[in-house]
């Protein structure tokens, strides 16, 4: 199964999102989320609090709730990407949990950077296992060199996929493996896959395909089966 199939399968799973608000606040959430497998519903509440909130259910089961303002903040993640891998992503982690396995049809680069960061940070905290990251261009990798050098100096088996290879010898004195000919259309994907090499509890992945200029269709997941499939797709 390739990355494309993984995205299609996930898109067929549905989640329900209910926006509760005392007024019309949040009516544009569907547009902001820009995703296929979320069904978004609005319900009006008495104005006990002026703050709107969002409830996410998957297959009828409660998955989580958060204020609309937290959700909107998440959808506009900071462009600044901290260089310290120990920096805390904080409440965004809860949003990642809520919206995992969700296929977003129009992710932008900074959302992908923030999500890559979430995967890399998990890898960093775990300190072992394998991390495979695909960059579409050498410049994209160059911007992350520091982080990948740090990661490659742990016990994590780091593989980076950069079409045409990387400039310079940033990873030369590390154990990282650089794949210069990803092939099989992989160069259209932005991906970061992590397998914790143990229980699988920390496994996670981001897989996104560039659709047009700087927009991506993709998902992130903590589902071990999907992470396994993603690794298998790379090794195929």
């Amino acid at each position: 199964m390739g990355f494309g199939q993984i995205l299609s399968d996930a898109a067929s799973q549905r989640k329900d999102v209910v926006v509760y608000a005392p007024d019309d606040t949040g009516n544009d959430v569907a547009e902001r989320l820009a995703t296929r497998n979320l069904r978004i519903d609005h319900r009006r509440l008495p104005a006990l609090s002026s703050d709107a909130f969002v409830v996410v259910r998957k297959s009828g089961e409660f998955r989580g709730a958060l204020s609309l303002s937290d959700l909107l903040e998440f959808l506009r993640p900071p462009i600044h990407r901290p260089s310290d891998p120990d920096a805390v992503v904080g409440k965004h982690r809860v949003v990642y949990d809520l919206l995992d396995d969700t296929v977003f049809v129009s992710l932008d680069r900074r959302q992908l950077l923030a999500t890559s960061r979430e995967v890399e940070e998990r890898a960093w905290r775990t300190g072992q296992g394998r991390l495979h990251a695909g960059f579409q261009r050498d410049e994209a990798f160059a911007a992350q060199t520091g982080i990948y050098r740090d990661l490659a100096n742990t016990d994590i088996d780091v593989h980076v996929y950069v079409p045409g290879g990387i400039t310079g010898d940033a990873l030369a004195d590390t154990t990282a493996t650089v794949h210069t000919d990803p092939g099989d259309g992989l160069d259209r994907y932005w991906f970061v896959l992590f397998d914790d090499g143990a229980s699988g509890a920390q496994n996670c992945a981001l897989i996104a395909r560039e659709t047009d200029d700087d927009r991506y269709r993709g998902l992130w997941t903590y589902n071990e089966d999907i992470v396994d499939e993603a690794f298998a797709a790379l090794e195929a």
Binding site: R63, L66, K91
Partner: protein, 132 residues
Amino acid sequence: MTKPDNQSTVLDFYAGESDHDYPPPDDLFEALANSKRRQLLLALPDESGMHLDELTDILVGWQTTTDGPAGPDEWAKVKIELVHAHLPLLSDTGLLDYEDEEITRTEWPDPVEELLTFAGEYERAAVGGAPS
């Protein structure tokens, strides 16, 4: 007031309730002396019932606007609290009917309705009123 006294039978109690009886003041104020219970009463629609799961969603959701995101553990905790504490108390007070996980407002006497409305306004002024 036709409130049942200790001598009343179950039938008397239900008969009294169908007349939209006034809850005894101590019971009423005890019922309202808890923010979850006030929220719960305000969340119930006038005309129709609400399922326990949706009511739990709303109470957990309101909580997230001040306490940050909540997951399934928090949800389960709130649901248990509703089932074991708040719903039985409010049902005993006669403010709602609770059957098969379906919660329905009883018909509240006007003063109760006004008190609830006031409680909601007061809450917003006292807690939610500060600019954030």
